[in-house]
Every structure is written in C-alpha cells, then in structure tokens.
C-alpha cells in the first residue's frame, strides 16, 4: 500500500500492465517524452521505450490505429488529451470500435482502452471541460468506466486493459491530484459493471460518479448534519450500468438524486431516473431528482461555477425529495 493520488495510481496501473504484458502499448499525443499533459504517463516512455508512442495530432488516427493494433493482437491503451478532442475520433469509436465483434460474429475483437480526461471545474479554455459521457454510454459495444478514487482508478484501469472488449476510460480531471489514498501495490482489478455503495443510509440515495462524487459526498455530509441518513452510490462503471445496486437502494430509501456534470437532457441522470421509476415506481416517495450541468456550453472560467453542480444544489435537491 502506498498513498497515491489518482494520476499516480493510473501511472502505476499502466506501469504494472506494461511490465506484465508485452502486448500492452500506449499511444497518444504528448504521452511519451513529456509524460502526458496531466503526467499520467510520466516515466513510462523511459521505461518502455517504443511501447509508449507519441503521435501526431490526429485523434481519429490514434483510435483507428489502436483499433487495428487490437485486432492484430496487441492491447493498446490510447489516450485522447481531453474529452473535447475525442469527437474527431467519434466515428472510429461508434462505427468500428464498438462494432467489429458484432460485424464479424466474434471472429475479430478490439480489446483496446481509450483513456480520456473529462469534466470541468479547473477554469480551462473552451472544449476542456466536457462531460459528454452520455453519448458514449448510448453507443453499443463499448464499456464506459469513470473512477472517482485513486484505488478504484488503478483497479478499474487494470480491469479495462485485460477486458476482452473495448473500454472508454474517463478520468475526472478535477480529481487527478485532489485526493490521496492507500493504493494496493501490483496487479489487482476492480470489476467493471459494479457500482459501489460508498456510504449506507436510509432516507435518500445519491447516485453519482467521477468528480461529482466528492460533491455528492459533501452534500451528504451537510444532510447528515441535519439528521438525514444518506446512501451514496458511486456508479464507477457507466456502461453497463449496475441497475441492481441503484434500484435496490431506491427501493430502500424511496428517494433518489442523480448527480452528473454533463448536460441534462438525455443524460445519465435521465437514464437513472428512467430505470428507477421503471423498477421501483411504487417505492418512490418523491420524483427522482436530476442534478446536472445545464443544456448549455460549459461557461468559461469567470462563470463556470454556475454550470457545475455543487454540494448546495445537490443537498437542495435531496431536501426537495424529503419535503415531498
């Protein structure tokens, strides 16, 4: 066990994977010599040389080449520098990465990982604050993972790398260096597809993931201080979503707040609401509340905070469910 932040834990996961399996190769913009703009790949180029590849500025090329490599028997881990730069690669992801297994009835498969920093809150330039995970979750044939803590990040990334299917691995930018925790050494996995009940409670369920989980936790603290018992769920895997854990909790508490940073309409919060009312309508004591980013471009630095959900908004929504 070592104390690590998420960037370090991810670096460690990549190190473990590269050293364990020759088929693992990393490719992306600025991931090699300079170690990635968030330093997640720091030192790996020195250690693994030609298996850590700096690429031209061409996201479709990165994903398309990684896809070919995966079919060819490698285990590529591609990095897209920010989620806002993944759209040029969207066609490769939707039309090829998520489809080759079906297209070839399992004859060809593409076990690749696409690592992408996502989310805002750091006052960055336009396009650097995206939370468009919903469009990847809507895409068949890929899995979508979004860790919220260093230890989960490492275990999920290692699970993604050995998964037989393609995984879009979303890394919450705001969390990279924000929290430290004990991270197990060596190889271990956190199962893809399983949510985690971060804290148990009986009055209201908060469902979140990625960077928003911390804010949901802060809201939970505030609510607990007022005597509200909060169950907090970290989805961890966004696709496939762990309905059982979410619905089970909804049945227990009767009140659900889904917290996502992405745009509201057709978001994961909508999906959570749809699933909960579908499977637990008669347990619901209040409508499922959606606390989300708005259906607007994420504002720039000066007013970004009006976009991103914060503990107050989350707690207010929880209180609305309790008032109902």
């Amino acid at each position: 066990m070592t104390e690590m932040n998420m960037a370090q834990a991810l670096n460690d996961a990549l190190d473990v994977a590269l050293s364990a399996d020759d088929r693992v190769v990393l490719l992306g913009e600025d991931i090699g010599v300079t170690g990635g703009v968030f330093r997640v790949t720091d030192g790996l180029h020195e250690r693994y040389g030609p298996r850590v590849i700096d690429t031209p500025v061409a996201e479709s090329g990165i994903v398309g080449a990684a896809f070919g490599m995966a079919i060819g028997g490698l285990r590529p881990v591609a990095e897209i520098q920010f989620l806002g730069f993944a759209y040029p690669a969207f066609d490769q992801i939707v039309s090829h990465v998520g489809r080759i297994r079906n297209r070839s009835n399992h004859r060809f498969t593409a076990p690749l990982v696409i690592r992408i920093p996502f989310g805002g809150g750091i006052g960055a330039a336009e396009h650097h604050s995206e939370s468009s995970e919903a469009i990847f979750v809507h895409t068949p044939g890929i899995k979508v993972v979004a860790p919220a803590t260093p230890a989960d990040a490492k275990g999920l990334l290692l699970a993604a790398i050995i998964d037989s299917d393609p995984v879009v691995f979303l890394e919450p930018i705001r969390v990279y260096r924000a929290i430290k925790e004990e991270v197990p050494e060596g190889h271990y996995t956190v199962p893809i597809g399983e949510a985690k009940v971060v804290r148990e409670g009986s009055d209201v369920t908060l469902v979140s993931y990625g960077a928003m989980l911390r804010d949901a936790g802060r809201a939970a603290d505030a609510l607990e201080a007022d005597g509200v018992s909060v169950e907090l769920i970290d989805l961890r895997t966004l696709s496939p979503m762990d309905h059982q854990t979410v619905v089970g909790s909804a049945r227990k508490t009767g009140r659900v707040v889904a917290v996502v940073e992405g745009h509201r309409t057709a978001s994961l919060a909508s999906e959570i609401a749809a699933v909960v009312q579908e499977q637990a309508l008669y347990s619901l004591l209040a409508p499922v509340e959606r606390v989300t980013g708005w259906d607007t471009v994420v504002p720039l630095r000066r007013t970004e905070h009006h976009y991103i959900p914060n503990p107050d908004r989350i707690a207010a929504a929880a209180r609305r469910t309790l008032a109902g």
């Binding site: 090329g61 896809f67 070919g68 060819g72 004859r107």
Partner: protein, 344 residues
C-alpha cells in the same frame, strides 16, 4: 506522372511480365471466376435474395492483381466493392454471400484468413490496416497489410490520417486506390483538384505510383514492389490503379443520371479480362473451352455456396444480445428478458 502499363490495351506485352504463363493463367481464371460472382451478385439482388450489391465489373485486374502480390497470411482491409480481392485472399464465398444476404456471419472468415469484413463506411478502414501492420511489426512477424479504397475515399480526413501515420511510423502498409472514375455520381475530377491520386503520397513523404488498373501485370508489378518494400521495413507505398466502374454504383443506383453510355463503351474496350485473354491467346495459353470450364466451375461452386448460405438458419431473435461483448452485460441480459417477455 507516368502510368505503368505492361499489357497494352490490345493485350500485347510492352513491358516485363511479372509472372510465368502458368501463373498468368491462374490469375486469369481468378478474374473470370470473380466476374461470375459479380454477375450472380446482381442477379441475386434482382431476385431479392441479396441486399444492395456493389458490382466490381471492370476492376478485376486491380483486385486480383493486387492480392496476387500478397502472402496468404498478409492482411487485407477493403470495401464493399472488393469481393474479388477478398475471395482471392481466402475469404470464402459463403461468408461473402452471407454478408450480402444480411447475416453477420458474413463478417467471419475462417481463422487464418486475415481479411477484415468489408468496410461499408467510406474512409475509416485504411487506418485499421496501419494499426494491423504496426501490430505485426511489434509482434515481430513480417506480415504486411494491404488496404483497398476508392477515389472517393481519398477525400475523407481518415485517408489523410492513415497515410500520415503509416509514413511517420513506416508501418508495413500498402495503400491501393482503385480510382474507378466515380464515387457514386461524383466524377474523379470533381473529387479532388490534383491531377492524380498517386501524387498525394508526396504530401506524406511516401512513394506514390500510378498504374493502369485494367492491366493485371502492371497492378501486380507495382503492388509486389510495394509489398516487398513494406516487408523489408522500408515503409508504406500508395498505388493508384486507374480503372473504371462499368456498372452503376450499386444495384440501387441509376448511373444514367450522371454519366454517358459512351464513357462506358470506351472503357469496355479496355476490359481487364479481355486484355489478359488476348495476351494468353497470343502466347497459346488460352482456349475457349478452358474459359468456359472455368466459368462453369466457378458458377457451380458459387451456386453451392448460395444454397448453403440460404439454408443457414438466421440468427435467433435474441442473437444480437450475444454478439456485442465476449459475455453479454447485465443490461443486455435484462433487455433479452424484456424482448422475450414482449414476444410471449
């Protein structure tokens, strides 16, 4: 830019043949066989037994000539129009037919046949051949990857990224453009303002060559050189095979809306099969009975495959849930139950 031609339009040899007569006969037979398939494809579509079909008539030399330069274990990554090439590299008729009938098993050639299912989207597949070639090099094999695409595909951004990656990393990839004059209704001249497709290679520091795409010997010669170069670790090559799409874009297209019959008539005179036939005949290596036998054998073989493909039970209603992941996810299992509930 000069265009490599080895067999003149009338079939006379004006350069060095890349093969002996026996091999030339084998390749001729392959072109004849491919054309039998192509005709059947159109017929099956008219009968409603195929979905839309994209004929390759006129492009047999480009496809058979290019694949003749490959080793059986090399990769081939082509398009909806490349059935001749795919078959030549080992993709079974059954799979080709199933694909066109609308069955996902059509995308699954036997293990050992390194041919991807045809790309239906235009442009996205070339970079896959770059990744495949790159993987082979990293694994330490000397396999190469050949990718086929059309003149229209060169306009997609993905062509550019694939060419650039291949050249930057000197991957063992051969890019073969079948410039057949059209991308549906768009002429080659309207597709790009460059005089040739081949010259685009220079933008990537890559060699580019132009060959007569209806001259099997020229296509084979240029592709073989490109393949050797790739296999030797010297990097990728772009080959432009200048040819013509004799048929409409697909069985759904009405080509009369945008091109004249005169063009087609001109190009029919340059038919790749006729050309090699003339050469073989003048070398005493062709007779009509042999060609007829070849056709009949092809026809019988393909008909048998059609029967097998049509007899194959379609996937079950729930089959789609099993094809998405190595193991269906919980979410898909729930949908499977929902589907069955709806059906009951």
């Amino acid at each position: 830019m000069d265009m490599l031609r080895i067999l003149d339009v009338d079939g006379s040899l004006i350069g060095e043949s890349p093969v002996d007569l026996n091999e030339a006969r084998r390749l001729f037979a392959a072109m004849v066989t491919a054309r039998v398939y192509d005709r059947k494809g159109s017929a099956l579509q008219r009968q409603g037994r195929f979905a839309t079909y994209a004929q390759f008539e006129g492009q047999e030399a480009a496809q058979i000539g290019a694949v003749a330069a490959l080793r059986p274990d090399d990769w081939l990554v082509g398009t909806y129009r490349d059935a001749a090439a795919m078959w030549m590299q080992g993709y079974p008729w059954d799979a080709l037919l199933l694909g066109r009938m609308g069955d996902e098993r059509g995308g699954a050639p036997p293990v050992g046949v390194n041919v991807l299912p045809p790309s239906i989207t235009v442009g996205g597949h070339m970079i896959h051949a770059v990744g495949l070639a790159w993987a082979e090099r990293m694994k330490g094999t000397d396999r190469i990857a050949l990718t086929l695409f059309g003149d229209g595909a060169t306009s997609e951004g993905d062509f550019h990224e694939a060419m650039n990656f291949a050249a930057v990393y000197t991957t063992p990839t051969v890019f073969l453009c079948q410039n057949n004059g059209w991308a549906i209704s768009m002429s080659r001249a309207g597709q790009t303002a460059s005089e040739t497709i081949a010259q685009k290679a220079d933008a990537y520091g890559m060699p580019g060559v132009l060959v007569d795409g209806n001259d099997l010997f020229a296509v084979l010669t240029a592709t073989r050189k490109a393949v050797r170069r790739a296999r030797a670790g010297e990097g990728p090559t772009l080959v432009e095979a200048l040819t013509y799409r004799i048929g409409p874009h697909t069985t759904s297209d009405d080509a009369g809306r945008y091109r004249s019959d005169d063009d087609i008539a001109d190009w029919r005179k340059k038919d790749p099969i006729e050309r090699l036939r003339a050469h073989l005949r003048s070398a005493g290596a062709w007779d009509e009975a042999w060609e007829r036998e070849t056709e009949e054998a092809a026809s019988a073989e393909i008909e048998a495959a059609v029967s097998r493909a049509e007899a194959l039970e379609p996937f079950a209603a729930e089959g789609m849930f099993d094809r998405m992941y190595a193991k269906p996810t919980g979410a898909l299992e729930a949908q499977r139950r929902l589907q069955q509930g709806d059906a009951s």
